[in-house]
């Protein structure tokens, strides 16, 4: 049947038709999803919060590299740290740790920071009672902005400076209990309590949840995300699985 001469509505069909021929999709890359689920490795986003100079970065540095630097400048270049905690049952919990990068200083943390955070460590300095006040503000902010299931640990750092203590253990513990938070004291300098607080958080995280990048649940390690992966080479993500819409 002849098409009407002025009916050009079919034309946009063409580019796609030839595209498929010109750029045949390559085979899908091997998925590491299965392997990660088998070895029970889970990845969680952990955010740090607290006033400037309470030792957020030092705490992470101790946890991740077991180092301490007395004269650490404000956070620069601590891009993206990860550390894995292995629990007694063999499950490996990988923390993807987000430092504030100084954006907390003038109340300029982006909503992105809180998004999909599975757990938060809110740090205060036991030698500065004002820093506990600040921690309370951050906890309110977390309750407002973050996922409801977020695990929050309140952490009194600089416990090695006992002689200058301004925040009593009782006061902080009582507040944590009222708000349903985990609580402990740490010293990034000596290392006391640092490993423990992260291990306790790992135990509290719901490892049964199946991976879903958007629900705030754990996702399998290895970058197996639900969306499109820009780092993958062109064409490596054939049709179907790229998008679950």
């Amino acid at each position: 049947m002849m098409m009407q001469k002025n009916s050009s509505a079919w034309l946009w069909v063409l580019p796609l038709y030839y595209l498929r021929k010109l750029y045949p999709p390559p085979p899908p890359p091997p998925s590491n999803l299965h392997r990660n689920l088998m070895s029970k490795q889970f990845q969680f986003k952990l955010v740090l919060l607290g006033e400037s100079a309470v030792g957020k970065s030092s705490l992470v540095l101790r946890f991740v590299k077991d180092q301490f630097d007395d004269y650490r400048e404000s956070t620069i270049g601590a891009a993206f740290l990860t550390q894995t905690v292995t629990l007694d049952d063999g499950a490996a919990v990988k923390f993807e740790i987000w430092d504030t990068a100084g954006q907390e200083r003038y109340k300029s943390l982006a909503p992105m920071y809180y998004r999909n955070a599975n757990c938060a460590v809110v740090v205060y300095d036991i030698t500065q009672s004002s820093s506990l006040e600040k921690a309370r503000t951050w906890i309110r902010e977390l309750q407002r902005q973050a996922d409801r299931s977020i695990v929050i640990a309140l952490c009194g750092n600089k416990a090695d400076l006992e002689e200058r203590r301004q925040v009593t253990q009782e006061e902080a513990k009582k507040y944590a209990e009222e708000e349903g938070l985990m609580w402990s004291e740490t010293s990034a300098k000596s290392g006391d309590g640092v490993q423990e607080i992260f291990t306790e958080i790992a135990k509290k995280l719901p490892l049964t949840a199946l991976p879903s990048a958007r629900s705030g649940a754990a996702r399998p390690a290895g970058g197996a995300r639900a969306g499109v992966d820009l780092n993958r080479q062109a064409g490596a993500n054939p049709g179907g699985d790229a998008c679950n819409c």
């Binding site: 796609l16 030839y18 010109l22 590299k65 740290l81 995300r225 639900a226 993500n237 049709g239 790229a242």
Partner: protein
């Protein structure tokens, strides 16, 4: 605030945030300020409270729209071209680790009063009853020609010189009908008007190649979109900047751009204090945009035209789009007797930009008359019932000088194109003016893994 900076950046739109991030990575000491208490400036995504505060300060958001925090409504409708320049910057700076992307589900084109899908499978294409035989052959030859083109091999040129011949000549060589040209020029090369036809063919060739390789990359459409809205893009580059030492101050009013006796930039006055820096970069709104006497008595930006945008909240997908969760619809200018195309960009809860069963469509075009809202009527009419509509007419500003003389570097407004390629052009342009050399994208150091 008594420190001195290399660069002060004003406004946290995407252009400014990319520049701020790249400058910090380069080792510059950057102070980044915004008068708003949120990131993104004109390229922000707003929650319901912010949206209503922005457009209707005296009205509360209706409760039926759902939770405030479920919303991230873009102010500017743009999608990311999968193989485009923004994607390159995202990958090179590694900010992709802060972001998650989804495809835009489909592209549609308006033709003869209705919209039709760009088929995404060979099956769909083959089965289409609309396939004509002769034009199909001609178009096939045209696409094969583009695909086979090699600069260094004249045998692939078929007598065409991409750098001398116009696109008109190319179309004519393959005998393509006006309708085909419309499709190629507007839906693939993404030109907003027909001016490209009489110009040299190379840019059109490059745009079509970019479109086809983007389309081939993920399959459904050439576009990707960040979950939680476009506002995630400036946020992620701001984080990059902060990680490399950039200082961030939101909710910070800028009172004055302070100049020295020689007219050169000295600092920025805010809340009674003056912060000094060698250079300043900022969006037009910090440099007198919209004021007849400019900023501080100097006209630093001029208006180049206007864009009308209507943000529409729908309770249903756009009719005729097969219930797609996200679409781009192009209404080519010829179809509605205009000079410029009308675009519709729609996203929904799949992209975490609104509550479930809500759809957000933005209809936009370049203003041609003194009744801008009437101009987008052909687009609005395709949407079905509209629950809420926020219309803005935004002037497009461009800087009056390069900034080389006074160390004041102004970025451009977000234009009417449906993608970010011109934003990246502006980044390159400003970088060249600020740094004095071309922007080279270096790979960042890899993550620290213990």
């Amino acid at each position: 605030m008594d420190e001195e900076y290399d660069v002060i950046v004003l406004g946290t739109g995407l252009t400014e945030c990319i520049l701020s991030g790249l400058l910090s990575v380069e080792g510059k000491k950057v102070l980044h300020m915004d008068r708003n208490d949120y990131y993104g400036g004109d390229s922000a995504s707003l929650n319901l409270t912010q949206l209503y505060r922005h457009f209707r300060p005296n009205q509360e958001p209706p409760a039926e729209l759902g939770r405030d925090r479920d919303y991230n409504v873009d102010l500017v409708p743009k999608f990311i071209i999968a193989s485009g320049e923004l994607t390159k910057i995202l990958v090179h700076t590694d900010v992709t680790r802060y972001l998650e992307f989804k495809q835009i589900a489909g592209s549609f084109v308006y033709r003869d009063g209705k919209i039709s899908k760009v088929p995404s499978t060979e099956m769909e294409a083959v089965k289409s009853p609309l396939m004509g035989l002769f034009e199909k052959r001609r178009a096939k030859k045209f696409f094969e020609f583009l695909q086979g083109w090699k600069d260094e091999d004249p045998s692939t040129h078929q007598g065409i010189n991409l750098d001398k011949d116009s696109m008109k000549t190319v179309y004519e060589k393959f005998g393509l009908e006006a309708g085909t040209q419309d499709f190629i020029g507007h839906a693939m090369a993404l030109y907003l008007d027909d001016d490209y036809i009489t110009k040299v063919a190379r840019p059109s060739y490059e745009r079509i190649v970019m479109y086809t390789s983007s389309m081939a990359r993920y399959g459904k459409s050439p576009y990707i979109y960040p979950l939680y809205g476009l506002g995630e893009l400036p946020q992620s580059f701001a984080r990059l900047s902060a990680i490399y030492g950039g200082t961030y101050m939101l909710d910070k009013k800028v009172d004055e751009i302070v100049l020295g006796p020689d007219g050169k930039f000295v600092g920025v006055k805010s809340g009674g204090e003056t912060v000094k820096a060698k250079q300043v970069i900022g969006d037009p709104s910090y440099f007198g945009a919209g004021k007849t006497d400019g900023e501080g008595g100097k006209v630093r930006v001029i208006e180049e035209g206007k864009v009308v945008r209507a943000i529409c909240i729908l309770k249903h997908p756009i009719p005729g789009t097969e219930d797609s969760d996200s679409v781009q619809i192009i209404i080519p200018q010829n179809q509605v007797g205009r000079r410029n195309d009308i675009y519709i960009a729609m996203v929904s809860s799949t992209h975490n930009v609104c509550a479930k069963d809500v759809y957000i469509a933005i209809v936009s075009t370049i203003v041609e008359t003194d009744k801008p809202e009437l101009e987008i009527a052909p687009g609005l009419n395709l949407l079905g019932q509209i629950s809420e509509k926020f219309v803005t007419v935004s002037p497009l500003y461009t800087p009056t000088s390069s900034g080389v003389d006074d160390s004041i570097f102004v970025t451009r407004s977000y234009d009417a194109t449906s993608h970010f390629e011109t934003v990246v052009d502006d980044v390159h342009d400003v970088w060249r003016r600020v740094v004095g050399k071309d922007l080279e994208l270096k790979k960042r150091e890899v993550e620290v893994e213990a």
